[in-house]
């Protein structure tokens, strides 16, 4: 163990270096968007007893700052309110709410933060921290970004292992009832975010969706 304290000057130097390297503080933000609730969806599909089922989370906030030529200022932030889950079966929904699965009571939300977005040969990829049930995992989030009749559309599909997040732990861990792999499908039709610092619009509540936010 080194017992010598580093000099204050060095600390300052390292601090300044750290700050300037931190893109979210200094880089100009890329244009920001929020999803148009009625046209966007966050769905997933898994298997139960050999059968594929799909579910959606109807209530989530998302804020996407992205421009291919402003990558340092690009980031994606999503908060999902888990109790808006609908898997087309009340029994399954209430099981998924329980402590062995998502544990809504203790962990009402899941979050996704992609602070870095890079361009790979296949297109843009976010390096994201996904937090479900209090467990955070770094995932790579490849997506497509298209312009569809004047609106930007983000599409992505990632496959998660539910056990990375302790979802379906304990006796459910083996795959005899539910498969481990869950495909998550993201389809966001985007509108420009309302002017700076406004809270992200809430998807799934059309009334709260921003009405034709002004372009900047």
């Amino acid at each position: 163990m080194n017992t010598r304290h580093p000099s204050p000057a060095l600390l300052l130097f390292v601090g300044v270096l750290g700050l300037s390297a931190c893109p979210t503080l200094y880089a100009a933000d890329a244009p920001a968007y929020v999803p148009v609730a009625a046209q966007s969806s966050l769905s997933f599909s898994g298997t139960q007893q050999g059968e594929r089922f799909t579910g959606v989370f109807r209530d989530f906030d998302a804020r996407i700052a992205y421009a291919p030529d402003q990558l340092p200022g690009s980031h994606i932030d999503v908060t999902i309110r888990l109790k808006s889950l609908d898997s087309k079966s009340q029994d399954r929904d209430s099981a998924l709410a329980g402590a062995d699965w998502f544990d809504f009571a203790k962990f009402p939300t899941a979050t996704f933060h992609a602070a870095t977005i890079r361009i790979s040969s296949a297109g843009p990829v976010g390096d994201a921290d996904l937090t479900i049930k209090g467990k955070t995992k770094r995932i790579s989030f490849p997506f497509t970004w298209k312009n569809d009749s004047g609106k930007n559309v983000l599409d992505a599909r990632v496959t998660l292992d539910r056990l990375d997040f302790g979802v379906g732990a304990g006796e459910w861990a083996d795959e005899s009832v539910a498969g481990r792999k869950v495909d998550v499908v993201v389809h966001l039709v985007l509108a420009s975010a309302p002017a700076a610092a406004a809270p992200a619009a809430t998807a799934g509540k059309p009334a709260a969706a921003p009405a034709a936010a002004p372009k900047h």
């Binding site: 007893q49 050999g50 059968e51 898997s87 087309k88 079966s89 009340q90 029994d91 329980g98 459910w172």
Partner: protein
Amino acid sequence: MATATTVPGRWGGLSRLFHWGMLGLFLVIVPLGLYMADLPLSKQKLKLYALHKSIGLTLLALAALRLLWRSTQRRPSLPPMPAWQERAASATHVALYALMFLVPLAGWLFNSAAGFPLQWFGQVNLPALVDANPALKSLAREAHELGAWTLVAFVALHAAAALKHHFIDRDRTLALMTPGVKAPGTGVDP
């Protein structure tokens, strides 16, 4: 249900196999259904549900095969008995056949309306009869439960009548369906 012609002798081997084999499965599936429904959610519970549904689907298929087979067979003639008893017996048989289909179909409907997967012994997945539908779900559940109890009641009546013919009337009714049972008193096969 009454077939125009009857024949002397007893029910053939395959008919008897269907009859007693299905009784064996009913003796498993009904207690299983009653037991499993009250369990708290666990993997074990889902396994028992899966077993119940698998046996139920097997019974549904057997009911169809049994009815098909029956249409190729001639019914053994009953021993002499009052006409009302014969009528009551055939009415009971019609009800039993109807319930052999209705109960598992209501179970399947319930399962479908609940949006649950349906697998036969972990081998084949069967399609849902309808889309998930909470209102239909509780209706189908009631129908399944009521149907199951009605089936149990008719089986009890039917079995009691068969035993009454054997032990009280001492006729060959039970022997018609039961391997190894001889008509009382006569010591001969029907």
